[in-house]
Symmetry: C2
Subunit: 327 residues, 2 copies
Amino acid sequence: MLIPIAQADALVHAAMMRSGYDAAEARIIADHVMGCELRGVSFGGLSRALSLIDRTRLSPRRPTVVRRETPISALIDGQDQNGYLVAHQAVMLGIAKAKTSGVGLIGAYDTWYTGMYAHYLEIAAKEGVVAMAMGSSAPRVAPHGGREGRFGTNPIGFAFPSADQPIILDIATSVVPIAEVVLAGRTGRAIPDDVAFDPAGEPTTDPAAALAGALRVWGGHKGSGLAIAVQLMGMLAGGGAMPADYRDCGFFFMAMRPDLFADPADYAARVSAYAEAVRAARPLDPASPVRMPFDRSARTRAQIMARGTIDVPDAIVEELERVRDVR
Amino acid sequence: MLIPIAQADALVHAAMMRSGYDAAEARIIADHVMGCELRGVSFGGLSRALSLIDRTRLSPRRPTVVRRETPISALIDGQDQNGYLVAHQAVMLGIAKAKTSGVGLIGAYDTWYTGMYAHYLEIAAKEGVVAMAMGSSAPRVAPHGGREGRFGTNPIGFAFPSADQPIILDIATSVVPIAEVVLAGRTGRAIPDDVAFDPAGEPTTDPAAALAGALRVWGGHKGSGLAIAVQLMGMLAGGGAMPADYRDCGFFFMAMRPDLFADPADYAARVSAYAEAVRAARPLDPASPVRMPFDRSARTRAQIMARGTIDVPDAIVEELERVRDVR
């Protein structure tokens, strides 16, 4: 159904409060969930809200604990809490430390589902810092040359403030996202024959077999190396080497004040000018101009906000309403 | 010819001193050049030494200048000096700052040819820090969806100390290295038809046309986004947005003391155990076990050191001897 943006946001917020989050926590989660919907990343939207609620039931609510701290760093024990909150705490702390100390390096562990890194990175860019985020998770992706999982879909991303639209990169290191395989399974579709292995290590088009086996890594040996580096950064942050699903993820965030190196306004102007130069590169297909990272997300968001509604399967809205209305 | 390792090293060192470097600078350069030869990266070896000497003649020797500095950061004005020296200075300063302040973030600009990042990253890992290095350069690589250059081959790399062999990742973001295209041109070979564009933006197999045009980016839109992020980090470090060849490169280096987040010995042991688990992943081809980043380099180096000689074209040795013996 088409549901007005404000109504969807209120529904997620209310369902999260019913699930044990306080109003401020529910706001952080709803902003993130709606941020995904507004970019057209629907698997991170209202359907993900239901997954978050399910997973929330498995852990008692406990406050996170900062285990190590310096003026330039912190290590957050996530206490098996929702990664949308743990990573948000890490990001806000990293930005604050960057503002006071020039840089903030934050590790977080014992958490799950840290969500869409572009969401955090956009917050950082708006605050005027250059940022990097990485996250490790369960071994659902096979290394290059292998056929069984050794790391997660391990996102890595960067944020650069500019004089107009910030440059936000957010890439995962599997060929396809796990959520896309889950969605294919739910809708009875096959997956392409070159994106996953079954539990015996053979190529498969069956979503269930792929989820029980391993996804293929993106980018050959280079992408595999990058995924391993992300897993090792997650482990530095306290994440498990090969954790169980939706447990023991590691999250690493760095924010830097650009004036360590440059005049911030001058740098922002140079970033914007460079972005324009990239967009102006002669395209392979004249109908498809070269895009900068985040261009597509920004355009989709503008279109959805102009429309005023998001399109969500009825069953998902109804389930969230059930959660909200439970007595 | 086969030339003993110590003799090749002495030849490079002497040729560099004849080219205007002092003994300590020539040692830094020779270590780097020989480090490439020992890993089998021959295009970064003695033949590159000749390119360095040629390029050295274009810039007067001047001391580099630290333009901005804090306890956790520095910005180095490379004064158009050899990148092998400027990046080395950045790396050593970054490691020193990490040891005293927890982290060292170093930018360097107005430099050229920063070489093989695995060389710097291995130094960092030996010093017990976790490190990251990135470098921007002239627009020789086309963005995804484009057919003209907008960024360099833009290496990005990471170093992780372990209880045994460190984990060193060093990846470039073009499909093929520029040096490989140069080498194909020198030896009259064609390049594959899907790695480069000619100046008109059409695919080409002609090395000269590719060098006048642009290389293709690795990894589709994700690899292209990563290359753009590296260019923007190089620009933060003061590098040009789209510099001329072998000028105005940007170099960014970060070193972190692992005890900001973890017990270093425990982390090193976990890294080693994880590396073993990756190597033990069921391989696609039973004859090709899964490798960790750096495994191949380490094995090649052990083989070459056991042999005691490197294999270098006669003409290159003779030219270096001419440089060394000039009166």
